[in-house]
Amino acid sequence: MSADQDGANLLEVRGLTKIFGTLTACDHVDLNIAKGEIHALLGENGAGKSTLVKMLFGSLEPNSGEIFWNGQAVRITSPGTAKKLGIGMVFQHFSLFEALTAAENIALSLDDGSPISTIAAKARALSYSYGLPLDPLSLVGDLSVGERQRIEIIRCLLQTPQLIILDEPTSVLTPQEADKLFETLERLRSEGKSILYISHRLEEVKRICDRATVLRHGKVVGHCNPRQETASSLARMMVGNEVQAVVRAPAEGIETAPVLLQIRELTRKPATPFSIPLRNINLEVRAGEVIGIAGVAGNGQGEFFESVSGEVLQQDAGSVRIRGKGAGGLTITGRRLMGAAFVPEERLGHGAAPRMKLSENLLLSRHATDGKMFVGAGGMVKGDAIYTAAQRIIKAMDVRKSAPDPEAAALSGGNLQKFIVGRELDRRPSVMVVNQPTWGVDAGAAAHIRQALIELARSGSAVLVISQDLDELFEISDAITVMHNGELSKPLPIAEATFEKIGLLMGGAEPGHAEHTLETA
């Protein structure tokens, strides 16, 4: 199985380097992939994994270094060249066209001129033979994220590649869908194909990968056999030091605590043809508890967040109640004045204005709620007070930055997220709603944000967290509920919740049905 024994390297990379401005994204990276192996590429966000595979697929040009394919030196100048060599890629984002059908999407990446109907038939046959059923005539915009990934995989397989690169393939799948994917990958390996598997999920890497290469800050820090490592030893290689474990103190007396955030029969029509309607959502979050909303992306979480935060107003004022008062007709500012705080999913452009300083971003979100503190007589902005408050947040959240008060866009994703969460925490809100609190954030920063959310709840606030990351929800929540197709399941206390139960709910199983299926399985 190991490449060193038979010496048949399909792909060999030596000293590959890519420099963006002052940042060295990949620094003399070496990588060997043998025929018929599943090779993991591990690393934190920003470690250079995506840059490396983009160079292998020809979307980026390396500054220096060599690539050998079957022993021959090659230059991969475009994705077309990569495809001709036999390299296929399943992308994490940005590669399907929503307004086209599945078959048209597949046709676009095939160079032969065969008619769409032939391609549709081939795609259908291949998808069923791999157990990934697909209707080639459906419109991509109507499909779930898992189904979209099937299109990507089928599209890749139709090109009969020797090497398949998968970039974070399970980040959008339910645990059951991920199992299906692993079966497919193992079957491909048995057919002699090589797979480069990019992930930061250590358990699945241990489960399916034969070898691993670990990247940190653009450099290779080690090669290993993941089956012989533990999850924590792999994490240590990725992060470089121990990650602080999140501590969740037991929540006491929640049953009798007051309900601070109540959602009652919240219903919303789809805003665009491709968006999800919200169907009769009910939820209560009490003082002192963290409730997690799990779900595959695109099942109405974004629509739900907009409705709760006041970006979209409700007809029925009682459908969103903050501290017992109807807030459905109030705007974001109105809801903030009632003691609520919101952190949206997108950091740049939604959570923060990219080209404005951190202190200015602070004023933008809090000028109404902290008017007396930040704005003086005649509407004059109190620069000193804002600067001091911004520095307080930066210190509390350990935001790493290059200047005293940099532009939001100058911060790395994780540090900006720490600032945005810290900006809301600084107000000590009694209700906090966060969408994807640690998306794209490195492990250290993520642990910090999670701990801060738990502490806020334990100090008597109600915290609602929407996340795609199940590990995160299990770490911080007192109860987990699942959003599927615009509906919310009954909250499951954390003691009763398991990955299997939540996974079934994410896949759309009935709440009662989920347990039944488990028993028979």
Binding site: E98, L100, S109, G141
Partner: protein
């Protein structure tokens, strides 16, 4: 009967330049580029076509010159927005302003000169058939080109692989680039095609519609063509319908004004715009279909990271 035929013929003449310019812009926008310079490219085509026809005495050379003029002028837009990634709206607007000014300067000596007119089709035996003969076999050559062009663009966009690729670029240039499609090359060719069409539409004005050179003779037709594309939700046959509705109401209100109908002339003059908008809004009520046909990356500059 003869009057009806004459009215139908004038409607076709009024609709043809709008149709050609709009079909060209439709292809450009389907590739994700918003070129607001249609008016400017059209007037350059008009002055180029008139000038070449006048100087050589051949309206056919004028026709080719009009097409070439529009294409070359659009190349300026393509270099700015595609290679230099300038703002498409600002660049398109300045292209229109530049075209209007430049054509005025180039045409100083053409003002008041008699121009060459492209002859109407005349097929012995066929053109003489009562009523349908002149409608089907007796119009100017650009009319036939416009119909063939619409059919060809429909077939190209929805039946060919290249057309599918073009539409995919308009939907998401980042995805297209990731698949190895040459986004910039496709967009260059689309913009130049759009320019050639706008030039041809301008040539129709100065070689068929009114065979003479008048400054600003496009009179806002480029803008109408742009609006048609949007209201037709980027579908060729709807552009055709829109152009002819506009032409029909335009000619109708001219006749109404001539008859002295007691309605303010300003109101009558606004009718074509109103009628076209109402009809096209009615046929594009299906929100889902409109979403599917709207190029999602329209107007966004594309800079591949390398």
């Amino acid at each position: 009967m003869d009057i009806t035929v004459n009215i139908l013929l004038t409607i076709a003449t009024a609709a043809t330049p709008l149709l050609i310019a709009a079909i060209g812009e439709l292809v450009v926008e389907r590739s994700g580029v918003l070129n607001l310079g249609v008016e400017g490219m059209m007037i350059m085509g008009a002055v180029g076509g008139f000038g070449a026809g006048y100087l050589t005495g051949s309206p056919w050379i004028g026709l080719l010159a009009a097409i070439a003029m529009g294409a070359v002028f659009s190349l300026l837009f393509a270099v700015m927005t595609l290679s230099l990634a300038t703002n498409q709206v600002a660049t398109g607007l300045s292209l229109t302003l530049l075209g209007l000014g430049l054509s005025g300067m180039m045409g100083t000596n053409f003002v008041g000169q008699p121009g060459e007119r492209l002859p109407n089709l005349d097929i012995p035996g066929l053109t003489a058939i009562p009523v349908v003969g002149r409608l089907l076999f007796g119009q100017d050559p650009i009319f036939y080109i416009s119909i063939a062009l619409t059919a060809a663009v429909m077939w190209f966009l929805f039946k060919t692989r290249t057309g599918l690729t073009l539409r995919s670029i308009g939907d998401s240039h980042a995805s297209a680039h990731a698949l190895g499609i040459h986004v910039i090359r496709y967009r260059y060719l689309s913009v130049i095609f759009g320019g050639a069409c706008a030039g041809l539409a301008g040539g129709h004005l100065s070689l068929v519609y009114t065979p003479q050179w008048v400054e600003n003779m496009t009179a806002g037709r480029g803008w109408i063509a742009l609006a048609l594309v949007v209201f037709a939700s980027w579908r060729p046959w709807r552009v055709l319908a829109g152009a002819y509705i506009f032409g029909a109401v335009w000619i109708g209100q001219l006749h109404a004004q001539a008859f002295g109908i007691p309605v303010p002339s300003q109101l009558l003059s606004s009718l074509p715009y109103l009628a076209t908008v109402v009809v096209l809004v009615l046929i594009s009520r299906n929100k889902r279909l409109t979403m599917m046909n709207t190029p999602a990356s329209l107007g966004q500059p594309f800079v591949p990271d390398r």
